[in-house]
Amino acid sequence: MTELARKVCMLGDFGVGKTSLVSRFVRNTFSDKYLTTVGVKVDSKHVALPDARTVKLVVWDIAGKSALDALNLNYLRGATGLMLVADGTREASLRATLNLLMQARDVLDDPAVVLVVNKLDLVERWQVAPATIAELRRTLPVVETSAQSGDGVEAAFAELARKLAA
């Protein structure tokens, strides 16, 4: 039986926690230290689907930027899923993420998308209002996550895997 595998790209402004989310998802680790990503990091993990199948998510953790240049667009090629990541403590990062989605849709054919609003552990400092997230949920699956504690991380990737396998 052919293995189901999908390329997923992590998109978001720098410092929103994309690499931390992947580390938590793939290796269940977390580091407080901020280490910028250059280019792309590729990891993979099998995710069990509700129907007992599994899907291998090949996760491309692309260096964070508020807008995609030609290099980043090149990384997107072949992807069928996007994990959009915003930092709840920086409302501007949410706008940047939505901008990245619009750019990505120019090069990808109807990708599966999940929006993650990260840093739930710092919720007291969040600038993103609950009403904003409620509004976004009308068009996108949105999961509040904390890469630090792991809250919502599995659920976010599981949701994306489910959409990719559908």
Partner: protein
């Protein structure tokens, strides 16, 4: 081909290969590895496990055709290596070429890290500044609220001040009349003394609170603006009043009360008797309160151009660590078993400072305390009063001097009428400034007594208007506001004297006798 000499081309090939350390993997069909050339370990691959190598490379090109050139720079591979990854189609075959990007990756990351951290720090700084602005706005709001509360408190204190003093003027005034007219009935005299003693005590307590309120109400320079009334001190009378107030209290507690023979100051030495009385009442109240056996001893003496007040007791005393604290307001914990508001000594200190005096404390816990106050004589006020402006009024000196009283409080007006009548004056009383002005213009009196706090036209405005119209008679202003500012305002308006409520009857009578003489 490129024009380079063959030797240079060979050199370049060698240098680039040395620096790029390429790993070349050749595949045919669906990812069937045919050959692997180069250092696989540098890129985190185990050459002995080609299946794993193939799987990782497959992941990289997932979803992409192998028949097209592909180029992914700066790929951090799952095994930890950093490479520029290229897929090169070659007929039925394709090659995957990995070029080492380790050093370039680290260099780029260091630069990018600095830039990103600087931007994040800038965001944090902006956020902190915004928070500071919020805090500042909040503080401004709170300050405005406090200022409003402060203004309300000041207004309350001003109102209380007036409301305390006005009825006390009536009490003391009518008490004076009753004492003058009392017969020889000892019980009646005792009753009147009791009323005076307690009214005086009440007055002192009220003054304590008002003094405290004044001290809290304004800026430091305003706090010192409480009015000093320079007048001749009736030291024997003061001593007698204190003796009458505190001897019964001491007797009730089973302690002795001694007032040493008074050494009165000369007549020309002036003091603020109300403040001195308040100082002594506060010191004696404390002494009697905190002495459970033994004695309380008081001394009033003129010595070396100063008035010395001393209150000594054999009470519980004050520990050295509490010496400073007892002079702070609401220090109820400073003396064990203390009762009361804890204002007395703080007021004493403040009053003594207002009179430019000194205050010393000696105390031994368990043996007693001694408070010593030294105050210099005050300067005589009103030496440079402004002359009344010239006008058309002709003051006609009559055999019986005429007086006009203006006060909206009928009790005060009635009291002043009686006191002036006792001095031989013909008196007309008014409760309204405008009516009084009309009367004064028609029949200028020898003396005008007018309250400042009148409804409608204020006393100061009425005085100013009369002076501007040429009234040359004497004007005495009465007010419940005992501040220098209030005195200056009244004098500037044209008054000759400024007396404060509650009226010191003796001072009032002296002033009026001098005025109508």
């Amino acid at each position: 081909m490129n024009g380079f000499p063959a030797s240079v081309e060979r050199y370049l090939e060698r240098v680039l290969i040395e620096r790029a350390r390429p790993l070349l993997l050749t595949f045919d069909g669906p990812w069937q590895l045919r050959a692997m050339v180069g250092d696989a370990a540098r890129f985190g691959f185990d050459a002995a496990a080609p299946d794993v190598v193939v799987e990782r490379l497959q992941d990289l090109f997932l979803g992409l055709p192998t028949g097209q050139m592909q180029d992914f720079p700066f790929v951090e591979l799952a095994g930890g290596g950093n490479a520029h990854v290229h897929l090169v189609p070659d007929g039925e075959l394709f090659h995957v070429l990995l070029l080492d990007a380790g050093e370039e990756h680290e260099r780029t990351r260091a630069q990018q890290q600095l830039g990103n951290e600087a931007e994040l720090a800038s965001l944090e700084k902006s956020r902190a500044l915004a928070r500071l602005k919020e805090i500042r706005s909040e503080l401004e709001r709170q300050r405005a609220g406090l200022e409003e509360a402060h203004a309300l408190k000041n207004a309350l204190i001003a109102t209380l001040s007036h409301d305390f003093r006005t009825p006390l003027t009536s009490i003391f005034g009518y008490l004076h009349l009753l004492e003058r007219r009392a017969g020889g009935d000892a019980a009646e005299i005792d009753a009147l003394h009791a009323i005076r003693r307690n009214a005086t005590y009440l007055f002192a307590l009220a003054e304590n609170l008002l003094e405290y309120g004044r001290s809290e109400a304004g800026a430091p320079n305003e706090r010192a603006a409480s009015l000093i009334n320079a007048e001749r001190l009736d030291a024997p009378r003061l001593g007698a009043d204190l003796d009458a107030m505190f001897r019964p209290l001491a007797q009730d507690k089973g302690i002795e009360f001694h007032l040493e023979p008074i050494v009165a100051p000369p007549a020309e030495a002036l003091f603020d008797e109300v403040k001195l009385r308040q100082v002594l009442i506060n010191l004696l109240s404390n002494a009697v309160r905190y002495t459970h056996h033994g004695e309380v001893r008081a001394r009033i003496a003129w010595r070396e151009q100063h008035l010395e007040l001393e209150v000594r007791d054999t009470g519980i005393g004050i520990s050295p660590e509490y010496r400073e604290r007892v002079f702070k307001a609401f220090n109820r914990g400073a003396q064990s078993g203390s009762r009361g508001a804890g204002l007395g000594l703080s007021i004493v200190k403040r009053l003594v400072e207002q009179m430019h005096g000194t205050l010393d404390l000696e105390s031994t816990p368990g043996a007693g305390s001694c408070f010593r106050v030294r105050v210099p004589a005050l300067e005589r006020p009103g030496a440079n009063l402004p002359a009344a402006p010239a006008g058309d009024y002709e003051n006609v000196r009559r055999a019986a001097p005429s007086a006009v009283v203006v006060d909206d409080d009928p009790d005060i007006a009635g009291l002043l009428e009686v006191l002036l009548a006792d001095l031989g004056c013909r008196v007309r009383a008014f409760d309204d400034a405008n009516a009084a002005i009309e009367h004064v213009r028609a029949e200028p009196p020898d003396v005008l007594l007018i309250d400042v706090e009148l409804p409608g036209l204020s006393g100061n405005a009425a005085v100013y208007r009369l002076r501007s119209q040429g009234y040359k008679g004497r004007i005495v202003t009465l007010s419940a506001t005992a501040t220098d500012d209030a005195r200056r305002a009244a004098i500037a308006a044209g008054a000759d004297h400024y007396l404060t409520k509650p009226l010191n009857i003796e001072q009032f009578l002296r002033t009026m006798r001098a005025t109508i003489a």
